[in-house]
């Protein structure tokens, strides 16, 4: 009988608090994760919106190609006009 009471005491004073502490830790971590995900949503949406200008890279590529072609033409003319060193 004495052992049973000791067991009860251990259960109430040690096991129950430890279980509650561990479960509260898990719940706190889950709530932190929820808050992080909530903060992540507008950031991801803004990042996606910021990348709308990426479509213009096609135009940039085209313009760079044309510019280099013009530079090549000028280089050819300079090659003809100027004397070598």
């Amino acid at each position: 009988m004495t052992l049973w009471w000791i067991g009860n005491a251990l259960l109430l004073l040690v096991i129950v608090p430890v279980v509650v502490i561990l479960l509260r830790g898990v719940l706190a971590a889950a709530k932190d994760t929820t808050r992080a995900v909530d903060r992540l949503q507008p950031v991801a949406a803004a990042a996606s919106k910021d990348l709308d200008a990426v479509e213009l890279l096609g135009t940039t590529q085209e313009q760079v190609g044309q510019t280099v072609a013009v530079v090549a033409d000028y280089g050819g003319s300079l090659d003809t006009i100027l004397e070598d060193a």
């Binding site: 009988m1 049973w4 009471w5 067991g7 009860n8 259960l11 109430l12 096991i15 129950v16 279980v19 509650v20 479960l23 509260r24 898990v26 719940l27 889950a30 709530k31 994760t33 929820t34 995900v37 909530d38 992540l40 949503q41 991801a44 949406a45 990042a47 996606s48 990348l51 709308d52 990426v54 479509e55 890279l57 096609g58 940039t60 590529q61 760079v64 190609g65 510019t67 280099v68 530079v71 090549a72 280089g75 300079l78 090659d79 006009i81 100027l82 004397e83 070598d84 060193a85």
Partner: protein
């Protein structure tokens, strides 16, 4: 029922209640997380879709620009020589001359070109006075004004007193300053 059994029962019920409360709370939080991630994954998908062509486009742009750079540096090497080419680039973009040397497969100190690049000045002077384009303008269809298009270059890089008229339509004669004083010749003084 014995008191010890009742206490045990109460303790077990407490443990079970704590487990139920916290585990249900965790489940609810996990559901919120899942919903939030579902919303985020849409934006992440958009980001992936929008950035997909970036590498290829940037590679293409870099290739074009590298070709342009190689072309201009090659031309500079050919026209100015390797030493002067690096120095000229250094004079325009301080610190970039070493990169030109590195691309030429060389090392060492970049030549100091200074403000006036003499070979370039000579080229300009030649373009203004002796180039086929300058001569051609006088005989055929006008490619450029042979008399005045190079006036600035000639004024800077050639004899400022100017060449005398040695051919029809050539550079204008520029008289010297009049002599003033006791040694002045009579006809000059009369003018």
């Amino acid at each position: 029922m014995e008191p010890a059994a009742v206490v045990t029962l109460i303790a077990v019920v407490l443990v079970i209640l704590a487990l139920v409360f916290y585990l249900v709370s965790v489940i609810l939080e996990l559901r919120k997380i899942t919903a939030g991630l579902d919303a985020v994954i849409g934006s992440v998908g958009e980001i992936l879709q929008k950035t997909e062509p970036v590498n290829a486009v940037v590679d293409h742009i870099n290739k074009d620009l590298s070709a342009g750079t190689d072309l201009l540096e090659g031309l500079l090497d050919k026209k100015a020589g390797q030493d002067d080419a690096a120095g000229l680039v250094e004079s325009v973009y301080p610190g970039a001359g070493a990169s030109v040397l590195a691309r030429q497969g060389r090392s060492g100190e970049v030549k100091n070109i200074d403000v006036v690049y003499t070979p370039g000045a000579v080229q300009l002077a030649r373009l203004g006075r002796d180039s086929p384009l300058g001569v051609g303008a006088m005989s055929g269809a006008a490619l450029r004004d042979a008399r005045s298009s190079s006036a600035a270059a000639r004024a800077i890089y050639t004899n400022p007193s100017g060449p005398v008229v040695d051919e029809p339509g050539g550079p204008a004669y520029r008289p010297t300053s009049p002599t003033i004083g006791a040694q002045t010749e009579p006809e000059a003084a009369g003018n």
